[in-house]
């Protein structure tokens, strides 16, 4: 019998006595048996059916109480009326998904249905659907936010560059243009981009900008500095530092191309533009000129 056929029959436990003998004579026989024996001993996580059934009943009871299931015939008629009302609400009130958007120099604190707290930095967008919160905690983020997540089911943050999942912890996500950075303050955080999966512990930072991913550990801080109205940077190109600056002050900054990639380590305040500009330009001996709402930085 052909080799693949023989092995397939063995996998299905369908070998006759004679075929079994033939199988045992295969060169790789022992390798296959070892793989099979070892695999057989792997045990998936325990599934407690009775407990899970009770949990299911609780969610179904909630649904039954709102009358969804038992009122089906009635709902067919009501549905037509609701449809028109729904169009009105969708265009004016939009209650389904909650969206929070921050503007320049604005920060916003949002409390989620399970009491998790999200502090959103300037020029950012956060979306979530309160309706599914009991079963599935997921938000979509564009920009930067600091998360303090209550313990519970997996909490995930979806960004255009990757998905961050946690079980109850504190972490900061920065997803701007092509730059993606996650910093873990407490607990453990899993970051999944298309190409990498890493688990961060307190003090770990995952950074990915235009395809270079790195994880480094530093002394653990307790919260991001932007919460206390400062942004700090570590070896960040000046171009990016100024992009962040523009999110907190209503100006556009132009910079000589040759200094765009100089690396800045330091902090600037969100509360005083002059001081902030000095903090950024002095380390590189740059001078700054302000005309209306345009700022220029240049080498003297």
């Amino acid at each position: 019998m052909e080799r693949e056929q023989l092995i397939t029959k063995w996998l299905d436990n369908e070998l006759s006595e004679a075929e079994l003998q033939e199988f045992k004579r295969l060169e790789d026989y022992e390798d296959f048996v070892r793989i099979a024996e070892t695999t057989k001993q792997l045990v998936p996580p325990a599934y407690k059916a009775t407990q899970e059934y009770e949990r299911l009943q609780t969610s179904l009871d909630t649904k039954k109480k709102s009358g969804i299931i038992y009122l089906k015939p009635f709902l067919k008629v009501a549905a037509i009326l609701i449809l028109f009302a729904g169009i009105y609400y969708a265009t004016t009130l939009s209650q389904q998904t909650v969206e929070v958007t921050t503007a320049i120099a604005q920060k916003e604190v949002v409390t989620l249905p399970d009491n998790s707290i999200v502090t959103i930095n300037a020029m950012s967008d956060l979306y979530y659907d309160p309706a599914t919160w009991d079963e599935f905690r997921a938000v979509t983020l564009d920009g930067e936010a600091y998360f303090q997540v209550a313990k519970g089911a997996t909490f995930s943050v979806e960004t255009s560059n990757g998905v961050i999942s946690v079980l109850g912890t504190q972490f900061n996500v920065r997803n701007r243009d092509d730059k993606f950075e996650v910093y873990c303050y407490e607990g453990s955080v899993q970051v999944d981009t298309g190409e990498h999966t890493v688990i961060l512990k307190p003090g770990d930072r995952f950074r990915e900008s235009v395809k270079i991913a790195s994880t480094n550990t530093s002394t653990a801080l307790s919260q991001p500095s932007w919460i206390v109205n400062e942004t700090s940077f570590e070896k960040t190109p000046l171009g990016e530092v100024l992009k962040e600056f523009e999110r907190h002050y209503n100006v556009t900054v132009s910079l000589d191309k040759e200094v765009e990639n100089l690396l800045f380590t330091g902090t600037f305040t969100h509360l005083d533009m002059e001081i902030a500009l000095k903090s950024i330009s002095l380390p590189f001996n740059l001078s700054h000129k302000k005309q209306g709402n345009k700022v220029t930085l240049s080498r003297d």
Binding site: E4, I7, T8, L11, D12, N13, D28, D31, F32, R34, I35, A36, T38, T39, K40, Q41, L42, V43, P44, P45, A46, Y47, A49, E52, Y53, R55, L56, S59, L60, K63, I68, I69, E135, F136, A138, A153, T154, V163, S165, Q190, D192, G194, T197
Partner: protein, 172 residues
């Protein structure tokens, strides 16, 4: 034992029976295929909720494939071909009393290498292979569960075995 149930699974006793019969299998299947990242236990719950909402339309014999299809689609919505995280429980206890420490260590290393190689298989190969090897399901059963042909199942399992063997022997 089973009365032909044309009213679907709306009766509490029937629904409970369906849950007890299929929930754990569904959980294991999702776990083998996608790992732990997308809360397989929650996806099982969601699939059963959908079953309840459509209870009058799903006859008892069709419940299993209905549940598997829904749960698989629910997970696919959240999943985007990311790396699978599989953490099997401590393997069943072994009788190591007479074995040397070197032997035990080698067994543990082999075990770890095998688990890593299993996590690297494609979802299709891994789910079919583990359903066959851990759950002891026949190729025909797996074909019914996954809604594919028996030949397709055989190709996946054989492919998985060949890949695993290659991974493990390469590292020796």
């Amino acid at each position: 034992m089973s009365t032909k149930n044309t009213e679907g699974v709306c009766k509490e006793t029937v629904y409970n029976r369906v849950f007890m019969a299929h929930s754990k299998n569904l959980f294991n299947f999702l776990y083998y295929k996608y790992g732990s990242l997308y809360s397989p236990e929650d996806k099982v719950q969601e699939a059963f909720v959908k079953l309840w909402e459509n209870c009058s339309k799903v006859p008892e014999e069709k419940a299993k494939s209905y549940l598997f299809t829904i749960a698989n689609n629910l997970t696919l919505n959240a999943y985007a071909h990311q790396k699978v995280v599989l953490k099997f429980q401590k393997t069943k206890p072994q009788n190591y009393t007479n074995e040397s420490p070197e032997f035990v260590l080698e067994e543990q290393e082999y075990n770890a290498r095998l688990q890593a190689a299993i996590a690297k298989l494609s979802e299709a190969q891994r789910s079919a292979f583990l359903l066959n090897r851990i759950e002891g399901k026949k190729h025909k059963e797996i074909a019914e569960m996954l809604g594919i042909s028996k030949k397709a199942v055989e190709k996946r399992i054989y492919g998985a075995l060949a890949k695993l063997k290659k991974e493990i022997t390469e590292l020796k």
